[in-house]
Assembly symmetry: D2
Homo-oligomer: 409 residues x 4
């Protein structure tokens, strides 16, 4: 062990698991540690402080270890300003760029800790106005990097604040318990989610719902439309498919005689599907179709009527697409990013692709509810890292009606 | 029952299930049938002929029934030319447009049956040169429809040829048995797939491989690269993520000291991932990275070196993307469509999104192998309807090495 | 093709798929067929008749083909009495014994077609009183075979009646559509199941419920207890685990201060679980525990109070077991068999093992509802072959409350 | 907070997560803690020591907290002998009995710490010879408790040693990383498992294999038989179904002309299955069938020939059963318990029921490999708590052949 560096940790780092993870990271990556100072939090409201020296064989090993420790919340002791390097080209980062977590992050610029704006994982950090009065630091995805952007490199002068275990009780949204609540009674979990949504609404917060087409198939569409109408939803994110299914159900339920209740004439052909898109295209878009009275029911209808903004993203498996659909994936991602950053609570309902896209843009502090009948989907979404996430493995066709009943009764 | 129409069916329609489906469709949709003539195929090589009158309450019910029967291969007796109607606007089809299946289809134009080019499901049929010497009929997806295109409407003058049960033995690729071969020994199924690939290659056929990122995680990458090098793969379709994982494994396996064999330093951060994209962007693309010697191993490397064309499609969950990635979903779909139409056999390996996109463009006569560890994925892909499909629920990380051993030994 | 035999089929054999299956079976098994007579049912209420000669290379191949055809409902033409052979030992069947399907079956004894009693699949058929006035034929599982039992062998003189496609509409319970109703709106499917249960109850029918422990975890317990109390359940089949979880919830919800609503103190240790068993053992059984007032709530409590008989079967993964649990698998199977044979409708709720055990004993004519959050479980249960089965992939914790609301409102 | 008690923890309790869990348990259960002494392990080989006072509102809350802390390895300071109480009846434990974990456990009897024999979770602890020269403490499952057994109650005088994070590297079998290794390349994971098995064999250790019927369907049977023949398997645990499928494949592959390689004549009927059981019953059992030359191939054959003991447990879904099958679940559990206690490494192959049964009896120190194509099965098995477990989501039909190739090449 020839190189070393001293790092500090502070907070409820024992029961939040941080301390243990840090010791583990060092050992797993072939390093060693020497605890120089350790002041345990002696009761539940007292914080713990730890200063330790980390040793490694090579400078590059040490850097790798420090990178991991940083993401756990450790900061290099004896703080210095973050190092900055100009991006060599558009879409190209410096070799040693710092890649963000989704936790609250602070960067030391000109001796001051500046909080990072629009925290999002797997981004670069760009510093503006360094050396001037009000330096700013914000995240940039790779494709947004412009030549000359001052990008943070290394681990120095960066402080991450991973979530801590709450001190009193836990509640559903307390601290991620590392798993899906399949052992919780479904009905009481739905009540808690309703409580959360009510609270967000009372605080003028923003509820973002991410929707998959299964909502329409499984019969959750009407209840979701009611929630939009009642003002419980502030923004909607979905794919082209969800919107087409919703509109098709409306167009063919009311005008062409197929019984959407009994579904007695399920047709394998996608003629209705394509004709729905064609018809909306003819009218110019969903809003126009609502205005002309062609669409008069359903989730998209209620969004238009109640000024709930929506983002419809295209994908390579779509028919169509609708005129409203953003077919370029970078443009769509940018639109989703804006929705995600504004949300106070996100309901991810039966869609893996769109939930991952939204989840990628979320800070770890945003409350998130993932509902899917497939436990693998729920697990995958929770693993991406909101500390305030609830996963629920249930049937979207019973979940939304029960949630609506809870909220609207 | 006030309206009726006479339809005909011909072929091995009993054991292929066609006859039964047709009777069922009529009854399910509230109609009735009267068999006017029925000549059973008396032994296994003799075809069956059936002419029946279909009755319904209303003209619109009858049309719906005839639409379904048509998709099963029934043709309206007393053949007339297909009816044509001009598309009213770009991207808009006439109300009663005919929506295609993925089976071989013929359209009667000027008294002649013209075979449809580039068969693909859920498209409109456009007729060119009607009334002239060589009329053509081909499929067009909705977004490609141009104002004035002559689009086939109704069911008249259209003949579909759904696949028939083969007469001798079945083989793996015989006739879709309606299910996943989970009861088949994995090793012998892999042998059969290898046989098929060998045969396609000997006949100068085209093998298209559709790849998910799990190929890289699970350790199937080297074997797939070998198959590309050995000339067993003629085209590759994947998402941005697959290519980045493949390149990252190369870049960081050879240059930055992470041991890709033991994976002993798995890192949660995506720094390598993003830096790989940044690096390829700096060089201008994958081909340039190969030419400059930065990338010298892996699946993408072998594709470049062996002139195997690839399509990388973007998605909203991507980091990056790579310069090679097509981010617009319509453009990407068009590129995928071309690959699909040329393929003689398609291997769908551990990716639902891209497999669905490719599958949407495939005629039902193209041999297809779907491999995934999730039975739901395999079932969903088979259900989309290749008649010559094998589904295999297995581990891609053992499947590709065993397939390569079979082919390369 | 050196050997042959003539078989007949009759009924709605085209749209029920029987005819197609039979042709397919012959070709798959290397045989050939020659249709000698074919009279198609010319409209939906007319039956089809087919007589065909089946040819094979060897007598043993022919026998194998005839066995399969028989299971599809084909009978050997020129009917003769079934052949009978005495069982050589207890638990041992003659080499060529006939293995039953779960469809209604008739055996020709002394020139008369005798209906098989207690139809169940994978059994032997035993004939009693052959040559006497009232011959009987019934199923016997292998372990019940006694030396000297007259067992039916071969395929001669046996007629199976597989279910036919219903003539009008289909309803949920009509004819197995070969799949799980994941495309049906959950709420309307629950309504239909409620309708069925109401109807069975009005006709003094028998409702059997098969219960997994997830009912208790997911919060469906109270609603199920209400259904028992309201008289909607006539028999219950479960494992030791379900009963213990139900009792533990009762014992520890009311007496030891753990809040079963919020589940705020979930404990990994199984101390409560084991102590519950110990306590019931001390009292002598569930009924005694109810009588003494120790158990005063829940599903098992309502069963005891409302004289709903239950079978609790043991398994090798059980703790305990309870005194009520039948630990011998053959004895337990016999008890389950009795329940299954008496049921008019079976609700299989979130348990694969017990549902398979019950399903093994059911005739194909018994209405069956399989509910599980895992689609693979539902598919596996439906595949075992009730023709009147509904599969529903949903959350048992929302399904039972919604079903109870539907029935009890 | 009116009652309190002082507990101690010692070891690598930070990076093993123990310390964090303990703080969390106290807070979750409504208690408080005051750290009285804390000596951190300053480098990776130094142990940490913590003494803290735990406070709760009521004596019963405190007991509950102490119970949980005990299971994490905390011991009540100021050690006293464990309290003992006589079991009031057969199969009945005292109210406050101590329920075991699967970790190494010590009980203080007459001032000495006595190691518990046959550690297994969810058992009672019975003390023998207390007050005499050599006291013994061992686990007893509930149904084995006899009236008068001296059962340990409360938490006093009990020390549990949960597994610690290993100090150097981790290896596959190091310390449970809390998850399934789906990100590991399948081939290299198989190599590591082979290495482990080789090592166990070289040390005259005991390899127990737990087998599901999918091994036979998926084509892993021959490779497993080879492993038995080559001496890599010391004991086999399975259900009746596995053995019957294995024997059926042998009987009907060699004697009755069905081609087990191509499986070209898959038969839905279970005639072969039942006849196989009947035939083995006639001969008296598997060993007799091998001796008479009726069975001459396969896994069970090799077990008999190579004196590898097997336990076949019955279940309510079995046909048959075979004469060798233990139909009583308590007897079967006892037989499985013996196998489990002797095993040094356990391979759980594609069976949930039997793997759970074996897992229930395993100490947390036994190396365990769980292989299944269903990730939910693997997760469920790992969650039951071996600290030295590998989970692998793969195809058993490719896994066993690759493992055999690795071991036998």
């Amino acid at each position: 062990m020839t190189v070393s560096r001293t790092v500090e940790l502070e907070g409820h780092i024992i029961d939040s698991g941080t301390m243990g993870h840090c010791f583990g990271v060092v050992m797993d990556m072939g390093g060693e540690f020497e605890v120089e100072e350790f002041e345990v939090g002696r009761h539940k409201h007292a914080e713990t402080y730890c200063r330790m020296r980390v040793l490694a064989e090579t400078e590059s090993d040490l850097r790798a270890i420090l990178h991991e420790l940083n993401q756990q919340g450790a900061t290099v002791a004896d703080p210095r300003d973050a190092t900055l390097e100009a991006a060599p080209e558009d879409g190209v980062v410096p070799v040693d760029f710092y890649s963000t977590t989704n936790h609250p992050t602070f960067v030391r610029v000109d001796g001051e800790w500046v909080e990072v704006e629009d925290v999002e994982m797997d981004c670069a950090l760009v510093v503006e106005n360094a050396g001037e009065e009000r330096p700013r630091v914000y995240t940039k995805v790779l494709n947004a990097i412009e030549e000359g952007d001052l990008v943070v490199t290394g681990e120095t002068g960066i402080r991450v604040e991973p979530p801590e275990r709450p001190r009193n009780g836990s509640g559903s949204f307390g601290f991620m318990q590392g798993g899906v609540s399949s052992e919780r009674p479904s009905a009481s979990l739905i009540e808690e989610i309703a409580d959360e949504m009510r609270e967000v609404r009372e605080n003028d917060g923003n509820v973002l719902v991410v929707c998959g087409p299964a909502i329409v198939h499984s019969g959750g569409r009407d209840a979701l439309a009611e929630l939009v109408r009642a003002g419980y939803i502030d923004a909607l994110s979905a794919g082209n498919g969800f919107a087409v299914h919703d509109l098709e159900r409306d167009l063919y339920g009311t005008s062409l005689g197929v019984d959407t209740e009994s579904l007695e004439h399920p047709r394998k052909g996608h003629k209705h599907h394509i004709y729905t898109i064609s018809e909306i295209a003819r009218l110019g878009g969903i809003e126009e179709a609502v205005d002309e009275g062609v669409v008069d029911d359903g989730v998209m209808y209620e969004c238009v009527r109640n000024d709930v903004p929506y983002v419809l993203a295209g994908s390579i498996r779509d028919d169509g697409p609708l005129p409203d659909t953003i077919t370029d994936s970078i443009e769509a991602q940018n639109a989703i990013r804006e929705q995600a950053q504004e949300a106070d609570i996100v309901l991810m309902l039966a869609t893996l692709l769109h939930s991952v896209a939204v989840g990628n843009c979320l800070p770890s502090t945003t409350k998130t509810v993932c509902v899917d009948i497939n436990p693998a989907t729920v697990t995958q979404l929770l693993d991406r890292g909101s500390a305030q996430a609830i996963g629920m493995v249930t049937d979207i066709g019973t979940f939304i009606p029960m949630l609506a009943e809870e909220l609207l009764e």
